[in-house]
Symmetry: C2
């Protein structure tokens, strides 16, 4: 069958996010062939997308060619493409180009997508923050609004320079802090004739506090820090609809705003819906405590796509609250799935997945972050920020040692490697004209 290499046990991993990468890499010494499928040619380091959206990092700094990640893993191959359909009984996938791919073991790690909750105008007029394309689109859009206002002072007060962020979780908080910083430090200098103080960052949260999964003290600290940076934090406010130039709240308030960032929630990737298995409310696939589909030990689901059973007791409906949709859950889930696959080949029975909480953190500004570590340890301020910085650098450097032009060149020269094999979501337009014959091939 197309895509299988030889006759070894064939593991197909769908998705090269944290969960899929962890599973595929953990199988490097197993007696299997691994095929990693992804619709993009790069892994996106999603925790730092907000930095790209706020112009703090280049897109290529946080995106890594999947082929480069597996370049030295002899039993792995990479394939670009989208999965249209999974035949669980026939044990094969159908790709969007019509080709099929057989598997002996399957790891589904397709992740999550932005959840608009069906609120009118969100899909048409708001930006998500789940992909490099999202982040670049936000950055481009906001910078162009400043150019507009610089050319026409009337736009200073009509919402052109207002960004509304829906969702007070870590993504919304980090986005708000990053934008406030971009406005007050960078754009104020770039646009010396513009009164950048007129630019607004509004953070909306439907509940009565930011960072619902953090300790209330940390959440309060985050709120104070954001407000000191100029962010308007509005709690207990929900979005009724989004218009091209304004955000309308359920209490009737209208906020003129040319930019809306939707960080209010995610749902599991629609691939889950094609499986014909039990899903939770957010579209997550219900799995057993070994992360396999019930009755199908050859199919594991990990990361944001899975409703991994949490450690808590069963709720009133008998269900156990699933683990949160965090990178750490995905990574540990990927490792567990790989261990189960390798163990089953050795005849070992499956084991339950136990998530080890490593803590959660959110950065707020130039030297401020909140971190909640296991054992009730809470960090904030510069210490929290330093912890955040070190953690993310270590995680990033795990993929690639990024360097400046000189070091980059030296690296290319010594290792025959290249840093920039990123395929952007859409091809930029050539200077003269987009070659349509090529773009549609």
């Amino acid at each position: 069958m197309a895509g299988t290499a030889g006759h070894r046990h064939h593991v197909v991993v769908v998705g090269a996010g944290f969960g899929g990468l962890a599973a595929a890499r953990a199988l490097r010494d197993a007696p299997v062939d691994v095929t990693v499928l992804d619709a993009r040619n790069h892994h996106t380091f999603q925790p730092l997308l907000y930095q790209v959206a706020t112009a703090g990092l280049d897109g290529d700094d946080i995106c890594f060619p999947i082929r480069g990640i597996f370049g030295r893993q002899r039993n792995a191959r990479v394939r670009l493409g989208e999965v249209r359909d999974v035949d669980l009984d026939g044990r094969h996938l159908t790709m969007s180009d019509g080709t099929t791919l057989d598997y002996d073991d399957l790891v589904l790690a397709a992740g999550a997508v932005t959840n608009t909750f069906g609120i009118p105008g969100v899909e048409e007029h708001a930006f998500g923050l789940k992909s490099l394309g999202d982040a670049m689109a936000i950055r481009t859009h906001v910078l162009l609004r400043f150019e507009e206002a610089d050319a026409d002072p009337a736009k200073l007060t009509d919402g052109t320079l207002t960004v509304v962020i829906a969702g007070g979780g870590p993504t919304g908080v980090e986005m708000a802090g990053g934008l406030a910083e971009l406005f007050s430090h960078v754009l104020r200098r770039d646009f010396p004739r513009l009164d950048v103080r007129a630019a607004r960052v509004v953070l909306l949260e439907a509940t009565d506090r930011l960072l619902g999964t953090f300790h209330p003290k940390l959440a309060d600290d985050a709120r104070r820090t954001l407000e000191a940076a100029g962010v308007e934090v509005l709690l207990e406010r929900a979005v009724a609809r989004v218009e091209p130039d304004a955000v309308v709240l359920t209490d009737g308030t209208t906020i003129p705003a040319a930019t809306m960032v939707w960080a209010a929630g995610v749902r599991a990737h629609p691939l889950g819906e094609t499986l014909g298995v039990e899903l939770t409310k957010g579209g997550r696939v219900v799995v057993g405590d070994d992360l396999a589909l019930p009755g199908r030990p050859e199919v594991h689901v990990v990361g944001d796509l899975a409703a991994s059973p949490g450690p808590g007791s069963a709720g009133s409906d008998g269900a156990v609250a699933p683990l949160p949709q965090l990178a750490a859950v995905a990574i540990q889930g990927g490792h567990h799935a790989a261990a189960m696959i390798a163990g089953r080949l050795r005849g070992e029975p499956p084991r339950a997945f136990h998530y080890v909480d490593k803590g959660t953190m959110a950065t707020i500004g130039r030297h401020d972050a909140v971190a909640q570590l296991p054992g009730g340890i809470r960090l904030k301020g510069p210490v929290g920020w330093l912890a955040w910085l070190v953690l993310h650098l270590v995680m990033l450097i795990g993929f690639r040692n990024r360097a400046n032009v000189l070091v980059n060149w030296a690296w290319n020269y010594l290792t025959y490697d290249r840093a920039s094999r990123i395929i952007p979501e859409r091809e930029p337009a050539p200077f003269t004209q987009a070659p349509p014959g090529r773009a549609t091939r």
Copy 2:
């Protein structure tokens, strides 16, 4: 009147390429206000575009936000926009958004665009290499063709993996060398199951030698180096037409090729045609030896848009051969224009522009370049490559001290600066859907 700051002498510089930047920066201590106009928000370091196209550098490594370049120049302002029309008698510009901009002095430095010479299919099916969008489009297109061939072995031999480059000047030579390197070193490792040797790089040149402006010995050396790297160099071949999947030569040969890069020539930016003044065959504006328009000492034209009089004797038609369209000519021309503007304010008469030849170079491979310096000095091989490397690093570092993620962050932190304010030519698609209400504002 819009856009002028105060009542000082107002100099408008059109284009933030090498010529425009040089002129605007050289006016930093002059008693004038300077407005820099560009259709993009970034300067593109064109000599390294081929590195972006061949995935050696990130786009952001060679693009620099114009506002950042002029952040500390108090008498300069930057405006994003396209010039639709110049009223030389009325001394004002009309922008594409309909607004007008008065000037006392004008520096036109709009540069050059790809010249298709009207050859059928070039505009529709070939890629230029004049902008970041061009370079990213080539990279994306070529990488996707390798993904295609990896999924379908039939595409190995049908031209999917063939890149034809038209034009054996420095751009074509560098592009061919960079692609050969990308194929043989990087993609061979990225696609271990693909016989990358089947990928072809074909370099077409209409004359009987490469690098027509270099000494024949250097051109021969370049050709041998390229051929050793696997490039097929075809001399005295011209393109009759380009089809979606093939390039047809005037001798009837058809080369199946999914990718064609058009590096066969440039013409001056079409802005020149709107002026109603004398143009050369390539659309370049005829200027006096002081680089001003004849009879209009307040309008200078520099860089690729200008036919700057060269040092040679007049030809048979009485015309002096114009200077070549090189970065060094543009930079020196920009400096000259600035000096003329400042001098005229002091009542000094215009002086003739004298171009100082600093040499030309082209890189060919991993440690090979040819360089032709003044005084008949010719460098090649690793020595030429080292000269090329040092020169370009020095030029790049003149704009910005680029650094890796860590250094980048440290830099942002210490200087309140950001590296990534690039607006790509077209906004990438958000993950869910492009917000059409926003993109068209």
